[in-house]
């Protein structure tokens, strides 16, 4: 409570650097303010990587815990969002590799249940159902991708981050980031296009 109150008292224009310096000197309120600023960014990314709310929340918390533990390692030339997303990326990649199959199965089951529960609440049930079906196919195709492809696709095509940022998050060159995105898009097309083709009604 005291930390939250202290955070509200802080000047609105306080930069990330000032907050980091504050946290480094032992003032936890500075770090809490950083958490409030960037937790949604991390959570959105983690959710798209895992497609599980609980897991995304857990990854978000763990990301900030690790950031707090390694705050002394943060270099000022990097952006805090880039640094925190790099931690989140590593965590997501590790978990995605472990739980790829289990998560996909749970998503399929949960998606099926959700369709039946929400079908009566939409304006155009047929159109909504078609969109849900396509979304399910996309989710299936994205889940089937290796974690490194999924990471760059979400960063570039979902989060719409620029290549410089992606390069900083992945700790590679801009050219390397472009190449990774290109490969990931090819991999997505190889998986998604056959699924979409098969799901279309035959004439």
């Amino acid at each position: 409570m005291e930390a939250a109150a202290a955070a509200t008292r802080m000047p609105v224009m306080a930069t990330d650097e000032a907050l980091i310096n504050q946290a480094r000197t032992g003032d936890y309120a500075g770090f809490e303010r950083l958490y409030e600023l960037y937790r949604d960014t991390v959570y959105r990314f983690a959710y798209q990587m895992t497609h599980s709310r609980d897991e995304a929340e857990d990854i978000t918390q763990e990301t900030f815990v690790r950031a707090f533990e390694n705050l002394h390692r943060f270099r000022k030339e990097a952006k805090f969002t880039t640094w925190i997303l790099r931690i989140a990326t590593n965590l997501c990649t590790d978990r995605a590799r472990m739980h790829t199959r289990r998560t996909a199965l749970e998503e399929q089951e949960a998606g099926g249940g959700l369709e039946w529960m929400t079908i009566g609440a939409v304006a155009n049930p047929v159109e909504e159902l078609e969109q849900e079906r396509r979304a399910g196919l996309v989710r299936k195709a994205v889940n089937a991708l290796p974690a490194h492809h999924r990471t760059v696709l979400i960063l570039r095509d979902f989060e719409e981050r620029n290549y410089e940022e992606i390069a900083a998050i992945l700790n590679c060159t801009v050219g390397g980031a472009k190449l990774r995105v290109l490969r990931a898009r090819r991999a997505l097309r190889d998986r998604l296009v056959p699924l979409l083709r098969d799901s279309e009604p035959k004439k």
Binding site: A3, A4, Y28, E32, Y35, E36, R39, D40, Y43, R44, Y47, Q48, R53, A56, E57, T60, Q61, E62, F64, V65, F68, E69, Q131, R134, A135, L137, V138, R139, A141, V142, L153, D157, F158, L182, R185, R186, L188, R189, L192, V193, L196
Partner: protein, 239 residues
């Protein structure tokens, strides 16, 4: 522009990342090639499909939860560190104990003292005199006469001695030899009976009747035979 470069341009166009001066060129290529047009449509559908991914639902990411997690992690760390330190100390103690034990056994009172200068003779008078070795005296239970070896046979054959009632004399060569009643001789264990296979050692030195029972050559089944040997006269019966 080769096919790979064209594919990269088409992907860039589909995702809206192509430079403005290249757009017209790639568009004209797509208009003239069905394959290029299909490729463009496929990548465009992939780009549109990404927008179908559901947005993240609202999460409960309170600051209190993070604080608890950070606190629990920082409180757990010293204990963990001490745990490692304790483990390392235990390991060091066990290594020291093992080294001390080995060192102690090597410098026993009976071991000669190491002398760096060969001219100096170590004074071991203060040490206890080593216990003299006990001489083992083995008295033979019966006089052993080495039987005449008639044939060299395999070492895998067992040396057996019959009981006194099973002794077969030279005269009763037609009597059946009950091989199952033969027992191994206690005094013959060290004797060189490498040729004998089965024998009944005489009860007295004057009794010269020895029965050798061979089970045949190694690896050849069903070739058992009985051999009677008179060591005094060198008579061998059977085979």
């Amino acid at each position: 522009m080769n096919s790979k470069q064209l594919e990269e341009k088409i992907i860039a166009l589909a995702y809206g990342e192509l430079d403005s001066n290249e757009i017209e060129q790639v568009r004209s290529t797509i208009a003239n090639s069905a394959d290029a047009a299909q490729l463009f449509e496929e990548f465009k559908s992939c780009r549109d499909a990404m927008s179908l991914l559901p947005a993240a639902p609202s999460a409960s990411l309170g600051t209190e939860r993070l604080r608890q997690r950070i606190l629990s992690r920082t409180l757990r760390r010293p204990a963990l560190r001490w745990g490692w330190a304790g483990g390392a100390a235990a390991l060091a103690a066990s290594v020291f104990a093992a080294f001390y034990f080995v060192n102690r056994t090597q410098t026993s009172p009976y071991a000669p003292m190491p002398v760096s200068n060969p001219g100096i003779v170590a004074d071991n008078s203060h040490r206890a005199a080593p216990t003299p070795a006990i001489e083992k005296t083995v008295e033979p239970t019966a006089p052993i006469e080495k039987p005449t070896v008639t044939k060299r046979v395999n070492r895998s054959h067992r040396v057996l001695r019959s009981r006194s009632e099973d002794v077969i004399t030279a005269a009763s060569d037609s009597a059946a030899v009950n091989a199952s009643s033969l027992v191994p001789p206690a005094a013959d264990k060290g004797a060189s009976f490498d040729a004998a296979v089965a024998t009944n050692v005489p009860n007295s030195p004057n009794d010269s009747t020895i029965v050798l029972i061979s089970s045949g050559e190694r690896g050849v089944a069903g070739t058992s035979r009985a051999v009677e040997t008179d060591s005094d006269n060198g008579i061998t019966i059977g085979g």
